[in-house]
Symmetry: C2
Subunit: 391 residues, 2 copies
């Protein structure tokens, strides 16, 4: 592998990792998508951390949420020192220990972070796909990941791990390729969106599509729908927090002033926070990818697609050992949804550990430092790694 791990002067791990790409090799490099259309060529951006064992049974597949990317851990260079989105969890000696495990992290199909998505150039036209990009599903994303695993020579994945939309992919992996998944860790996720979750996504999409610059998705030659995307991201950030989290983080504290502005400036800290999150997001994310990925999440319905309406039926094919984790203050995917997963897994006689972690940071909790979560994942991986080597 081209990456290496070193330590800085404070003894913190600094993994310098390389960006990699995988393009479907077999001509015509296409996939038949769930909506029935043929689509290609497809490229997936990915990164790896750690070293594969000789039998490749130490592989862990990490799957990101809506706006994530392949850069889950380490840094790209001294000049580009932004750590990966789950660097607190992945690295030497960390919860997902790269001294032991070979970690693969890949950007999802439909995103804008290196994998093929609406912003990619359609070789047939020489222009960005835009609204001609097909509506890919969570199933399509996972099938593309399967091709990457084949490419890397990984026949059995020790553990598939992800939160939120990444957690949906974990569940999809378990029922679509049960023979390949030895263990699974779905975090802060659901088998299907509630009406509330769909509602939030729909309003966010409407905010983007209301921006005249969106131009029905055809904006890559002109101004981008930044205003709409910023509003969409603000809506998202409300769902990632919770009443309690916001009360602790912001309360009614004012921003840089002792009294109200009596105009439409950001008076409250929570307003500044949301505006900042919106503005920052448009610098790195593509509005069309936001539309496509949220729609894929809304369509995801494990019981409908794999169990004819029954979640117990959907998991009937499952074989993995599970660690299911929810967070008390997550009101996007509340604990009752994780409990439904646990119940259905148990009815199928599958081995499942479940933990609801007391956390006040809402849905975002799975991305934040949490010793409980780290030790749970670390312990679970130790155990399943022992088990896979005994087989």
């Amino acid at each position: 592998m081209s990456e290496y791990i070193e330590h800085d002067q404070q003894g913190l791990s600094v993994g310098i990792v390389a960006r990699k790409n995988f393009t479907f090799a077999a001509p015509p490099s296409e996939m038949v998508l769930e909506n029935g259309t043929r689509f290609g060529p497809i490229t997936l951006a990915y990164e790896t951390y750690g070293t594969p064992a000789a039998d490749r049974r130490n592989a862990i597949l990490v799957l990101h949420a809506l706006s994530g990317d392949a850069h889950a851990a380490g840094i790209h260079s001294r000049e580009d020192p932004k750590p990966g989105w789950w660097d607190i969890m992945i690295g030497p000696g960390k919860g997902i220990d790269t001294d032991k495990f070979f970690v693969v992290s890949t950007n999802i199909l439909g995103s804008c972070m290196g994998s093929t998505g609406p912003r990619s150039i359609n070789p047939a036209t020489g222009k960005a796909y835009g609204h001609n990009f097909p509506l890919v599903t969570i199933g399509d994303m996972v099938r593309a990941q399967k091709a990457l695993m084949d490419h890397l020579g990984i026949e059995k994945i020790l553990a598939v791990i992800g939160g939120s939309i990444g957690g949906m992919q974990v569940l999809e992996w378990c029922v679509r390729y049960p023979e390949m998944v030895f263990a699974a860790v779905p975090l802060a996720t659901t088998t299907r969106h509630s009406a509330l979750a769909i509602a939030f996504n729909e309003v966010a999409r409407q905010a983007i599509m209301a921006d005249p610059n969106w131009n029905h998705g055809d904006y890559y030659q002109g101004p981008r729908p930044d205003m709409g995307l910023a509003v969409a991201r603000m809506i998202g950030h409300i769902t990632y927090l919770s009443d309690e989290a916001m009360r602790h983080k912001f309360g009614r504290r004012l921003q840089d002033k002792s009294d109200f502005s009596f105009n439409f400036d950001a008076d409250f800290q929570v307003e500044s926070y949301l505006r900042y999150q919106g503005t920052k997001f448009v610098e790195r994310f593509d509005a069309n990818s936001f539309l496509y990925i949220t729609k894929a999440a809304d369509y995801f319905d494990l019981e409908r697609q794999h169990g004819a309406g029954s979640l117990v039926g959907a998991f009937a094919k499952g074989k993995a050992r599970f660690l299911v984790v929810s967070f008390t203050s997550d009101w996007l995917y509340p604990t009752y949804q994780s409990r439904a997963i646990v119940k259905a897994l148990k009815k199928n006689g599958l081995e499942v550990s479940f933990c609801e972690i007391e956390a006040e940071w809402g849905h975002d909790a799975f991305l934040l430092p949490n010793t409980r979560l780290t030790s749970l994942i670390k312990g679970f991986l130790e155990r399943v790694y022992t088990e896979i080597r005994q087989q």
Copy 2:
């Protein structure tokens, strides 16, 4: 009074009511607003139902929420048969019985339903105020209502009743004019917005201000920011419902089709519902009024303004008898916020009845038919009407 009550063939009451206006009479017809500026002229649209008693001690003031208007009960004419927004509660023999009580309902200052607001013509310029409209507060709205009460010759109001932002006005009335308020019914409300409530409002405002047609509030000569306002309203509708309410009302049911569209149409019923609510709203409401009223609600902070940070201190001046009502599934103004009101009232030795009504319809519950709510209000009004006449 000019209105009369008749009955239709089904025996239902049909109150035909007249629109009325009150314009501050004393020259220069101005108010000094809380932000320190002078503003006028001011007109308030209002309606009345029932007949004032000789001593005018049967008056009830009904205060509407964000997008309401003065038309709370009855219909305007056979040709305009839309009943008032609280017609289920106000009328002969109803919870607020117009056979006994003289009900006054007025559109708030800053709205667009007949009272002076950003869409009104500024006589100094001959053009709509737009962004030159001052940022009025809940206190300013209540002070304008006080002038209307004076105009109607009502020195003591039997009960001030309202939900949501109307409930904020109820609380403001109680501490600002304690001698005038005999009883008060704040429904589904709060003494100050949580960070979460501010966050929702801020994102809704950003959606409006992101619409290029908004043009910094100066759009009355050109196209209106309908797209932005529709998104803002959709955000509002999410907060008016609840996870449970949406699950029962929509679940994951599809709209008019057996499968997904695999495009960005409204696949789910909840998506169609939100789009419809957004589209319908722009026909009747002004985007600037939405901005001004939500900001007033965010600024409202009873403890800060009237109690130097203490809610107990804020209610120290209060004299009214209270009926406080919250709803189990209201996550915009959860029950804990009503309990804080009740606690502070009791610490001041005030008489208070509190009821948390089991309801699955979220914040909207206070506007929906509910026999429990109706009988609570009816019983409370009977009692305080007996008490006021014994004084």
